[in-house]
Symmetry: D2
Subunit: 254 residues, 4 copies
């Protein structure tokens, strides 16, 4: 648990004040809490702390995939952890899974999937926008998961030879257009998941999955609420995210 | 994707009518849809179907970990998929994780954890009630994950030699009593998670984590709602589970 | 607070076991708690109790409008109290309001509105189905509010002479069809409310209100969750109603 | 529906841009939309509009009690409309109700109650802080409801002679301390309501109501979510208030 040169570290001061940085000798990091000498982190242990120039304590945490996703560079709306996690469990994502992702976006979902399917599984991902793919590659590299992900050119979707997959995840504005194109690649009994921010997308996707003979079609939404658990005055947080996306799942029947 | 003798199969007729069965030659399965000749499934493909004696179609799906958990034998309240999945992502559960679980219960959470940490990680689990451990072992065996799980005797908790772990998960009525007992085993920067069905447990657990110097303490609740997505009349389902449990997370700081 | 002959009484044994009955001399009421001599209630005080033939205690409560609505006879889905109340406050329902209701249904909303607008306001209500109107009349009479409600024949909607109203409430399957028909009757700056169980209705209603120049258009949903508040083990109830209806409000601009 | 000199008007530009002003001849109102000549509103009709100096349209709406509450001057956290309305329906608040309110705060709840119980009911209200009472009086006067409200000095609670009431509403930090003090004043079968922002208050209040023999004890929370209903892209709003308060209700049994 020694922090090596070049390792990513999550600097933690409070739940609202965290930063993901690379630990490099000589590096200074400026925050409103004062300057941090990141170089001091190199060679110390995860769980220990630095003091800023203003004497503020900052804990050195080993970043989780959760942290890499929450701190990822973004050109698109990210898929939130509550949704990432549920996509995983409801689709059967597990060690060894082979996954086709349509709509890489900023790569948060790709990162999460790669972290679960390694070391024997693989993610094949496409995006119509090369800027998104470039950001996604950076984010996935940070999380040290590049070897489990293959990027393809969206314009040459049909030429890509990724073989049969266990799970298809679609995160684009018109997900129903991709059912036909991915149907053959999905192994029988495998799961197709789509991320549908609007009710209209969900409705159309549900109808299209039914037309294609998918079964166990399940449309859901997840809400998460923080609780302020403090002795004698515990209550839910006043602020909450009201909506991220709906999720729809179906299993391929022959 | 051929169904082998002895494989588990999820029989699907509708979202409300599914059964998890072992495919065995000669086996008959009686349902209100008529009798199913399960033996016919052996040698056929996942995704294909059987017809019942009443002519009803039943799809043969390859069970996911989700299905094994939802169909597990239970002597205790299970941890629901929405919570399992969020425990996983928020704690950093990933391939290779070493996890200590206190409170095996019926083994649903153990099953989920094992499915993610394999092939190189491991789960060490304890329960005070040997009846629960026996059920949990059966459930984990069904999901073919036994090799990734070690059961320990709760009464000899201190003698167990599981070494340092990345994650501690506590699912017992008084989780705060286990912080001291598991503290040394949790690697610095690792995550402790507790499953707290009541506000009172959550409040006490939050205070105790703070006393022990844990940081990034995060108390949450997740709600899941099904959506009935049907052309021209889409709306949320009338029935919903109002509460399963609160979850609390903390990271160990030195 | 003396219970008079013919008064309605809410018999309360537990939150799940309540009955709305008319207090009549000589009346016996059979429940699984034993037989109750309702005649004994006549002349006693609200808040006091009866003992059943099995010695079970049943409290005699004065029914609220809430109780009349929850215990109303129904041929249709009722509007739930959380929605009734919010319709009231968001539309400006108050003493003296004149209200036009399209879609009487079983009369629960009519009852609530009448209870607020009395003694100087009035409700004008229509339903296409005479069976609904008949049930609604019975329910409103039970709550002793008949004098504040005028029933009209839906087929003669245009002939009804109810004058200008402060609020229009629409509770029918295609509420957008009634905007034009009720527009002239709604006073400038008045509120139109529609009860839209589905997203599709809500979306179409929102567009139509916009077309008609309504402002301050507000689409919402309310969720209510019971809390089991018990010393040392407080938590939300496991069961919850996931959805009743969406509500949409708009103010008429000239 | 002519706007008279001195009448309150809700200026509406968009759901996020509304102002509650008094219509006075010669008054200018400065906003980022430009200057509004409020004097022009006097003599015009509710529902019509003004143009700002920058040519922006501002609709003149007749303010509802909802608007008076949302725009009230505040020294305290207000009770939100969803909670006001549910307090009303669940407690049996109606025309003619006599209500005792402990904890006037900024008077939003007092305003709402007064608007429902008029013309024959009355509200008796107390607050320990004379600054709150002063603000509350101003807010209630704006809504033209002063004649239905009597303010009492909290330090002389026992001397106040308000007689028997139908409903007691308690909105203070330690509501359980007021059960004994208000018990005699509440008519048998009447409702006691308490506003409890924390789980701990709710739990203690529930136990105390039980000790005092209250029945039909009901603890709830309400959540409200806006829906962005737009053609082809309808979805819930991303932002939501996660928590305002819990509510607890009980009926007095003898």
């Amino acid at each position: 648990m020694i922090i090596e040169e070049g390792a990513y570290v999550l600097l933690y001061h409070s739940p609202q004040k965290t930063w993901l940085v690379e630990a490099t000798t000589g590096k200074k990091f400026h925050t409103h809490l004062g300057v941090l000498d990141i170089g001091e982190a190199v060679g110390s242990t995860f769980g220990s702390h630095l003091l800023s120039s203003k004497g503020k304590k900052v804990i050195l945490l080993k970043p989780l995939i959760y942290d890499f996703v929450m701190k990822s560079e973004r050109l698109t709306q990210i898929v939130y952890p509550k949704d990432l996690a549920y996509i995983g469990i409801r689709s059967g994502l597990t060690n060894g899974s082979r996954v086709l992702e349509v709509g890489t976006g900023s790569g948060g979902l790709t990162t999460y999937i790669a972290s679960i399917i390694r070391p024997t599984g693989h993610v094949y991902t496409f995006d119509v926008n090369p800027k998104f793919s470039a950001i996604a590659k950076k984010n996935i590299k940070k999380a040290n998961l590049s070897e489990f992900v293959t990027f393809h050119d969206h314009t040459r979707f049909h030429e890509a030879n990724y073989g049969e997959v266990d799970i298809v995840v679609v995160d684009i504005g018109d997900p129903w257009t991709m059912i036909e194109k991915t149907y053959e690649s999905l192994r029988p009994s495998g799961t197709l998941v789509a991320i549908c921010p609007t009710m209209n997308q969900l409705e159309k996707m549900s109808s299209t999955l039914t037309e294609f003979g998918f079964v166990f079609i399940d449309s859901t939404e997840l809400m998460i609420r923080n609780i302020e658990a403090r002795e004698g005055k515990t209550r839910p947080a006043m602020r909450m995210i009201g909506h991220t996306t709906y999720l729809i799942f179906g299993r391929k029947a022959l």
